[in-house]
C-alpha cells in the first residue's frame, strides 16, 4: 500500500481508535515511524533569500524547528523551493549562529564576550559622543544642514519593513546623511 501524507494520517487515526480499545500504541508507532512533524506547531513564513517571496511552513516542537518545507497554498511557489529556500532549517538549527555579543577593543587580537546591556550602553555612549563632536548646524555656504557628518550606516535589505522604517527614522533623528544599503550595490 502506498501511504501518502494524508493517507498516513488516516492510518494513524485508526491506530488511535484501537488504542482506545486497550491495545498498546507503542508497537504501532514504532512500526509506522511517526511523522517528524507530529504534534508540531506550524508557522508560515516567507523565504529570506531572493526576492521571489516563496512561502515556507516552519514546524516547531518544544521550541525547536523540526522541519521546514514549501507552503503548498502559496500562490507563487505552490510548495516549491530552491536549494536555498529548502535549507532554511539550517538558519535556525546551526551551531555557527552568533549567540553572544562580542567586543573587540582597540588593537586587541581577540574578541571578548560581553553582555548585551553593556554593549548597548557603550554603543549609545559612542553614538552620542560622535554625534556631538561632528554635528554640523551650518555648511560652508552658511546654509542650515543639521547633520551628523561623523557616523555612517549601511544595511539592510535583510530586515523586515517595520525594522527598516524604525532604523531610518532613528538614523535620521541622529542627523545621519550617509545612509546606504544593498540596493545601491
Amino acid at each position: 500500500m502506498e501511504v501518502t501524507r494524508r493517507g498516513f494520517l488516516k492510518v494513524s487515526g485508526a491506530a488511535l481508535v484501537s488504542g482506545g480499545l486497550g491495545v498498546s500504541l507503542k508497537p504501532v508507532a514504532a512500526h509506522a515511524q511517526p511523522l517528524k512533524i507530529q504534534y508540531a506547531k506550524e508557522t508560515t513564513t516567507i523565504c529570506p533569500y531572493c526576492s521571489v517571496g516563496c512561502g515556507i511552513i516552519v514546524s516547531t516542537r518544544g521550541g525547536k524547528v523540526v522541519n521546514t518545507e514549501g507552503d503548498p497554498d502559496h500562490p507563487i511557489s505552490q510548495g516549491s523551493l530552491c536549494s536555498k529556500g529548502g535549507s532554511i532549517y539550517q538558519l535556525s538549527v546551526n551551531k555557527g549562529r552568533l549567540d553572544k555579543p562580542l567586543y573587540r577593543a582597540p588593537y586587541a587580537t581577540e574578541w571578548k564576550e560581553v553582555s548585551l546591556e553593556w554593549a548597548l550602553d557603550e554603543i549609545a555612549r559612542r553614538i552620542k559622543d560622535s554625534r556631538d563632536k561632528s554635528f554640523t548646524e551650518f555648511n560652508e555656504k552658511g546654509q542650515k544642514v543639521n547633520r551628523t557628518n561623523g557616523i555612517a550606516s549601511v544595511g539592510s535589505a535583510a530586515m523586515d519593513n517595520e525594522e527598516c522604517y524604525i532604523y531610518q527614522k532613528f538614523l535620521r533623528s541622529l542627523g545621519l546623511v550617509y545612509i546606504e544599503h544593498q540596493a545601491r550595490i
Partner: protein
C-alpha cells in the same frame, strides 16, 4: 517589477537579459515554463551560456557592457520595420512632443549630447517646445524632424546590425533573430516581458541599459499589460521594501526626496519638489507631494511638533554632493567618520574594490556589526593582510535573530508585502534587529534627555510608540503591528472628507485620503492601505481570484493600493477603452467603472487621460531629460574594456561618471586596454549561495554543494593559458587577486570584436575568508561545519559607478588568469 512573478506566464516572449532566473530566482522559472508550455518563446542574451540559456529557444552571446548597442539595434529594427504600436506610442508616450531645435544627438556631436560641460550636462537644450499657453507642442503625425519619434529614429539609425555585431560580438544572424522574435510582441494581443537583474544595473551605463529596454517596451505597447512590463528581478528578500523605506541617502520613505541645504523650510521643500504640468488632461499624481511629506513628518514627530518645525529637525544634504555607497567608503577611507554601523550587511565582501572597503574600516574609531553569523566585516581586523595590533577600530558584534525568529513583513520583487510569523526563539542572546534598534534609540534618547547636546530635540521629540512601556516610559516589547500601523498612518483628528467622517485615531484607508494640514500621519504613503481598520492586509491568505490573469488580490497586499500591475491604464485602447489583449485583460470597463486589477490612471474610456500618472505630463518618456547622461541611451565602453576605442563614436566612456581613479586615492586604480589584464570579467551568482555567502556559507548543506571560489573560462582561453579543468589558479585585476579553481567549459566562447579575439571569464562573488579552513580560529570564533575556499570576487572589481545611481560597475572589468605559482 511593474508586474509580478505569476504574471510572467502570460507573456508571449520572455527576454532574460542581464539576469539568470533559472539559477538566481529558481522558482520564478515555474512561470517562464508555464508561458513556454502555452507557446511563448524564451530569449536569453548573456555573455555566458547559463542554466537559463539551456532552456531558451534562442540564445545570443554578447560581450559584457555592450547592452545598449544590442538594444539600440533592436530599436532601429522595430522602427525600420514598422513593428511598433502606433496608437500606443502616439497617445501614451512623448513620441509626438517637439524638442528644442538646438538639441543635438551624439551622432552629430562627437558622441555626446548637446550641452556637455566637463563631466556635467547643461540640459537647457534637452527641453520641449511650448506654445503660448505653456502646453508642449506636438506632432501627432510623428513626422516633424524635431519630434521625439524622429529624433529616436535618427539616434538609432547608426546602430546597424553590422556595427552592433562588431561592438557586442554577437553574430549578425543571432542579433536579427532576437530582434525579430522580440519585436513580434508589438502586435495587438501579444505581450513581451523583460527580466533583468544586476547584469544591467552594475555598469557605468546601468540606468541607460534599462532606459533602452523601457523605450522598446513602450514602442511595442508592452507596458501595463499582462505578461509585459519592465521587471527587475531583485536580489534580496526585502530589498524592494528597504528601498521603499529609504535606507538610501537621497530619499525619505515613499521616494520623497531627502531635504537639501538649499531648501530651508518645508514650504521651500514642497514648492521645489512638487512637479507642475501644463498638459490639460494629465493627472500629475505627484501634485500630492505636500500631503505625503506632511504626513511623514507627523509620523516622525507626532502632533506636538508642527510640521514646519519637524522639517527643521531633519538633516539636509549639500546640493550636488553625493553620499552614496562609493562616496561613503571613499570618505571612510579618508578618515571622515568616527563611527559606523554595518547592520545586516557584509560590505567587506559586497562592496566594489573590497580591499579599499576593508582598509577603510581600519580608519574608524568604532563600528557596530549586526548579523546572524560571523562575517568578513565584523572580523575585518583579523582578515588577510591585516595586523590587529595596528588597528584601532573598536568593534561591537551583535547577534541578531533570523527571519523565523521574529514577526514582521517583507516586500518581494513583485511589490507584494507578505507577513511573516515568529516560529521559535533565537539562540542565546541573539535579538531581533528591531529590538536592538529600539533599545539603542531609547538609550541614546536617555543620554540626550540627561545631558543635552546639539539639536537634542531631533532625538528627544521623535515619536516611539511601538509597544507596551515600563514605568520609565521604555518600550518593553517591540510590537511590529504598532510600527506597521504607524507606517500606514492615522487620522490625528476627526476629519470629514467628501461627506465621510473619519474618527481621530482610526487608520487611514488609502493614500488618497492623506492630508497636508497635519490631520493625518503616514510613515510611508506608498504603504497607506496596507494596515487599515479592516486589518493587516499583508497577512491575508485567500487564494480567491476572479481574474483570468492570476492576480490573487486577497493574498497579502501589493503597493500601491493593492494594484498588482502598475501602469495598467495603458493596457487598454485610448479611444475605445477596450483591452489590447482581450484574452488577458487587466482592467475592464463595465459601463460604469473599471473592474479587474485596481485601475491605474484611467478615467472613463476615451476621456483622454494619459495613463502614466507619476510623470507630470502623463506619458511614457521615450525622451528622458531627467537623467545625468542623456535623454536617449548611447553606447559607451565600460571604464575598463578590451578595446581602445568606441566603435560608435569618438567618446570612449560615459563622459558623466565620477572618476575616482583620476585624482583619487592610491587604491583607485584603472587598467583599460592593458596587456597585463587582457580578459573581460563579470561577477555572477549560483543557486546554492546568496550574495556574499554570509547566509549560505555557514549552512553545511549549501556549502557542501558549492564549496569553492571558481573561475569559469572557455576551452580556447584555457588552452592559451595552459590551464586545465580543476587547476588552482589566481585571478588578478589591477586592484587585487583571488585564488580560484578553474572550470573550463564550452559555456564561454571567445568573442570576435571588430576582428579581434576577446576572451571573457566569469566568477561567483559568494566567498569570503571567514569560513575557510586555513585561517586561524580562536576560542571565541564560530567554526563552520563545512569549510569553503576562497575570498570575495569584489577584491577585483573597480571603484566606479553609474552617474545616476552610483551602482558600481561589477559586471565588466579587466583581469588576468594564471595557474597558481605562475605569474
Amino acid at each position: 517589477m511593474t508586474n509580478h512573478w505569476i504574471d510572467i506566464q502570460f507573456s508571449d516572449c520572455i527576454l532574460a537579459m542581464g539576469s539568470n532566473p533559472a539559477s538566481n530566482h529558481p522558482i520564478s522559472f515555474k512561470y517562464i515554463q508555464k508561458a513556454m508550455e502555452k507557446g511563448a518563446t524564451l530569449v536569453n542574451v548573456d555573455p555566458r551560456f547559463t542554466q537559463t540559456s539551456s532552456r531558451a529557444h534562442l540564445y545570443a552571446p554578447l560581450r559584457s557592457g555592450t547592452d545598449i548597442a544590442f538594444l539600440g539595434g533592436m530599436i532601429k529594427y522595430i522602427l525600420d520595420n514598422n513593428l511598433y504600436n502606433e496608437k500606443y506610442v502616439k497617445f501614451y508616450s512623448n513620441a509626438p512632443f517637439l524638442v528644442n531645435p538646438a538639441f543635438r544627438l551624439p551622432g552629430e556631436n562627437d558622441g555626446v549630447f548637446s550641452g556637455l560641460n566637463g563631466t556635467k550636462y547643461d540640459k537647457s537644450t534637452w527641453s520641449f517646445q511650448k506654445g503660448a499657453d505653456g502646453v508642449i507642442l506636438k506632432d501627432p503625425t510623428l513626422q516633424d524632424p524635431n519630434c521625439v519619434f524622429q529624433l529616436l529614429r535618427k539616434q538609432y539609425d547608426r546602430y546597424t546590425p553590422e556595427l552592433v555585431s562588431k561592438i557586442t560580438g554577437t553574430p549578425v544572424d543571432k542579433l536579427l533573430q532576437v530582434y525579430k522574435t522580440y519585436a513580434a510582441t508589438g502586435q495587438n494581443g501579444k505581450a513581451g516581458t523583460i527580466l533583468y537583474a544586476m547584469g544591467w544595473t552594475q555598469h557605468t551605463v546601468g540606468v541607460q541599459n534599462i532606459r533602452a529596454m523601457s523605450i522598446i517596451q513602450t514602442l511595442l505597447a508592452n507596458m501595463g499589460v499582462a505578461g509585459g512590463g519592465v521587471n527587475a528581478l531583485r536580489g534580496e528578500s526585502n530589498v524592494q521594501g528597504s528601498t521603499d523605506y529609504a535606507l538610501l541617502f537621497h530619499i525619505l520613505p515613499g521616494y520623497l526626496r531627502a531635504p537639501l541645504a538649499s531648501l530651508p523650510s518645508l514650504k521651500d521643500y514642497i514648492e521645489k519638489s512638487t512637479p507642475a504640468t501644463t498638459e490639460p488632461k494629465s493627472l500629475n499624481w505627484w501634485k500630492n507631494y505636500s500631503k505625503y511629506i506632511t504626513s511623514l513628518l507627523r509620523a516622525f514627530y507626532g502632533t506636538n511638533v508642527a510640521p514646519e518645525e519637524a522639517y527643521d529637525l531633519l538633516p539636509r544634504l549639500d546640493d550636488g554632493k553625493n553620499y552614496s555607497w562609493l562616496s561613503l567608503f571613499d570618505a571612510m577611507y579618508k578618515g571622515e567618520f568616527t563611527g559606523f554601523f554595518s547592520w545586516g550587511q557584509n560590505p567587506a565582501c559586497s562592496g566594489a574594490s573590497s580591499n579599499k572597503t576593508r582598509q577603510a574600516m581600519a580608519k574608524l574609531d568604532w563600528m557596530v556589526n549586526v548579523n546572524i553569523f560571523d562575517s568578513e566585516t565584523g572580523s575585518f581586523w583579523k582578515g588577510p593582510g591585516m595586523d590587529p595590533a595596528k588597528i584601532k577600530t573598536e568593534v561591537f558584534m551583535l547577534p541578531c535573530s533570523a527571519s523565523i525568529e521574529k514577526e514582521g513583513s517583507i516586500t518581494n520583487s513583485g511589490r507584494w508585502m507578505q507577513w511573516r510569523y515568529k516560529a521559535v526563539n533565537s539562540p542565546g542572546e541573539a535579538t531581533p534587529d528591531g529590538e536592538l534598534i529600539s533599545e539603542l534609540f531609547l538609550k541614546v534618547r536617555e543620554l540626550y534627555e540627561k545631558e543635552g547636546g546639539p539639536l537634542k530635540e531631533a532625538v528627544t521629540k521623535l515619536t516611539w510608540d511601538y509597544g507596551p512601556k515600563d514605568a520609565f516610559g521604555r518600550v518593553t516589547h517591540l510590537d511590529a503591528h504598532a510600527i506597521a500601523k504607524e507606517i500606514n498612518g492615522y487620522f490625528l483628528e476627526d476629519k470629514e472628507i467628501n461627506g465621510v467622517l473619519y474618527k481621530k485615531g482610526s487608520l487611514v484607508p488609502s493614500f488618497a485620503l492623506l492630508q497636508d494640514d497635519g490631520s493625518t500621519s503616514s510613515g510611508n504613503w506608498l504603504y497607506c492601505n496596507s494596515y487599515t481598520e479592516k486589518g493587516n492586509m499583508a497577512a491575508r491568505r485567500s487564494r480567491k481570484d476572479t481574474t483570468p490573469i492570476g492576480i490573487y488580490p486577497e493574498w497579502a497586499w501589493s503597493w500601491p493600493v493593492n494594484r498588482r500591475i502598475i501602469y495598467n491604464g495603458a493596457s487598454v485602447d485610448p479611444e475605445t477603452g477596450l483591452p489590447w489583449d482581450t484574452e488577458h485583460p487587466v482592467i475592464i470597463w463595465d459601463g460604469a467603472k473599471w473592474t479587474g486589477d485596481v485601475p491605474d490612471g484611467v478615467a472613463a474610456p476615451g476621456a483622454g487621460r494619459p495613463p502614466f500618472i507619476m510623470k507630470p505630463d502623463g506619458v511614457a518618456s521615450i525622451f528622458g531629460p531627467g537623467l545625468a547622461d542623456g535623454p536617449f541611451p548611447e553606447h559607451y565602453e565600460p571604464l575598463e574594456c578590451p578595446i581602445d576605442k568606441n566603435l560608435l563614436s569618438p567618446q570612449f566612456i560615459n563622459p558623466t561618471i565620477r572618476r575616482f581613479d583620476v585624482g583619487g586615492t592610491e587604491l583607485d586604480l584603472r587598467a583599460t586596454c592593458d596587456p597585463r589584464f587582457p580578459f573581460v570579467c563579470s561577477t555572477y551568482r549560483v543557486s546554492e549561495h546568496w550574495q556574499t555567502g554570509l547566509m549560505t556559507r555557514w549552512c553545511s548543506w549549501l556549502a557542501e554543494m558549492q564549496p569553492s571560489m571558481f573561475v569559469e573560462m572557455s576551452e580556447e582561453l584555457a588552452k592559451l593559458k595552459g590551464i586545465g579543468n580543476g587547476d588552482s589558479v589566481v585571478v588578478r585585476s589591477v586592484r587585487g587577486e583571488v585564488d580560484a579553481v578553474a572550470i573550463v567549459t564550452a559555456r564561454f566562447k571567445p568573442f570576435d570584436i571588430n576582428g579581434q579575439t576577446i576572451h571573457q571569464v566569469g566568477i561567483p562573488w559568494h566567498y569570503g575568508w571567514v569560513t575557510t579552513a586555513m585561517r586561524k580560529y580562536s576560542h571565541d570564533d564560530k567554526k563552520p561545519e563545512v569549510f569553503t575556499f576562497g575570498d570575495s570576487a569584489n577584491l577585483l572589481t573597480p571603484f566606479i559607478g553609474d552617474p545616476n545611481t552610483m551602482i558600481p560597475e561589477s559586471k565588466a572589468f579587466m583581469v588576468n588568469v594564471d595557474r597558481k605559482g605562475v605569474k
